[in-house]
Amino acid sequence: MEKTEHKKGFTIPIGPQHPALKEPGHFRITVDGEIVTDVDVRLGYAHRGIEKAAEARSWVQNLYLFERVCGICSHIHAMAYCLGVERLAGVEAPPRAQAIRVLVAELERIHSHLLWLGVAAHEAGFDTLFMYSWRDRETIMDVLERFSGNRVNYSANILGGVKYDLDDEFVQFMCEGLDYLETRSEYYLEVVTTDAMFLQRTQNIGVMTRSQAELLGTVGPTARASNVHRDIRYEAPYSAYKQFPISIVLDQRGDLEARFVVRIKELFESYRLIRRILEELPEGDLAARMPRKIAEGETVSRVEAPRGELFYFIKSNGSDTPERVRVRTPTICNMMSVVKLAIGHQLADVPMILAGIDPCFSCNDRMFRVHLDQSVYANVGPLKG
């Protein structure tokens, strides 16, 4: 065990291996009794040097590399990459391919949010909800498997379009799954908003006001639960979201309950969007032709991953390998908020607050230490303890 002379108080290490963490991360939580007084984060245990590796691979090879940044949101990484590269090459994917991309992205969001619901419930010691939501998540995993042959890393994207088409049998299978999931989601929404014991663990815990959320640069459902209008699908529609607009799900309260509510409500939005896409699915090709060498230039590709904004900066030097690909995943933006919010809470709330941002350490792929300067927050006032 590490010695912690430099810190006053009692330090509890969580991670890199710990039952609360499904992926490696390291949190040093200084407590006074049960009250958290300081949090230190160190990440990067899953750092694989993907950005460096990308510079030595061709454009096509990189597609499969970026799919493997994250196991949960593999499709959206590939999609962000494809959209960026297609923009650089001046190629646009056919409408049907774009619709299928968005459809898979929404399926992935459902799968990710249900997974998160289970993990968050488990952190609260509510294992029944954990088991229920993961059982229902199998429905969507089966759908994805039927679609692509894989439960994760579906590899639906190719540069210029998609690989797989939808057939009637699959569409019917998927619709049945969605109908089932919709009733289940309604039930979960009821549980997280009415179960008195569960509310004790979520209501007014980890409250983040709108200005704090903006200052800390949070993204995704974490930001939307604090009433920040930040959803790339809504504010900068990309791909088929232009034809199939999404409505933004917001909540005013900014506490853990709001994060539960926002994510579950987003599920309904996803179900609606998928059905809408199926109704108006454009006909046509699945892929456009892509050049092997991509024209020189730089582009920024932003998409909304299940956890928030995913940012790709791609620079091409005109050859068949990229000059630089910068990946900024949503978790790194939200991690700051955990560090800030945990202080003043009970130790028992820390896993909940951490789970509240839906951290993905493999995505994160980085390590940093945060030393908070209190004066920075002087203008937003103290956080509620």
């Binding site: 950005e51 640069g217 940093f368 945060v370």
Partner: protein, 160 residues
């Protein structure tokens, strides 16, 4: 909600008015690249963007233009709606230094640390207590994302 054109106009005015010397280009309809000539201008422009409500720093990207050009470039991407405003500064490859933005944008710390670790850019005003997100036994003078560092070099110098 401000339109894309309005936001681009505000950012362009800011870059022209709040800094000593900048030039701007629009590589794509929704993007504005601001080339900042003097490092001192970086923080004031960021303050201006924040005052205008455009201060969401999405990422900091480092670019290495190679040993021949002898230039490192740091790109600060500010996103609002569809707009991406990028502040770009050129840095000498020998001793690159940029001022920290954490005083105005606390979320910048993670990105600045990454820049510092991967490209060897010193962040003025930010403490460096230990190695950051690379392994502890990573040599301090090896910056993995620089173009003249190859994967073999890293493997050779890491005692695996």
């Amino acid at each position: 909600m401000r339109t894309t054109e309005e936001i681009l106009y505000i950012a362009e005015e800011l870059a022209a008015g709040w800094a000593w010397d900048t030039s701007t280009t629009k590589p794509e309809p929704n993007r504005l690249d601001v080339f900042v000539k003097y490092l001192e201008d970086l923080v004031p422009i960021a303050v201006g963007l924040r005052v205008q409500g455009l201060g969401y720093l999405a990422a900091i990207t480092g670019l290495d233009h190679g040993p021949e050009a002898d230039i490192l470039e740091a790109l600060y991407h500010f996103c609002t709606g569809k707009v991406v405003v990028t502040l770009r500064v050129n840095l000498p490859r020998r001793s690159p230094v940029v001022p920290t933005m954490t005083n105005i944008i606390p979320g910048a710390e993670a990105f600045e640390r990454e820049l510092s670790e991967m490209f060897g850019v010193e962040i003025d005003g930010l403490e460096h207590p230990s190695h950051l997100y690379l392994p502890d036994d990573m040599p301090v003078d090896l910056y993995p994302l620089r173009k003249d560092v190859h994967v073999q070099d890293i493997v050779a110098r890491l005692k695996v």
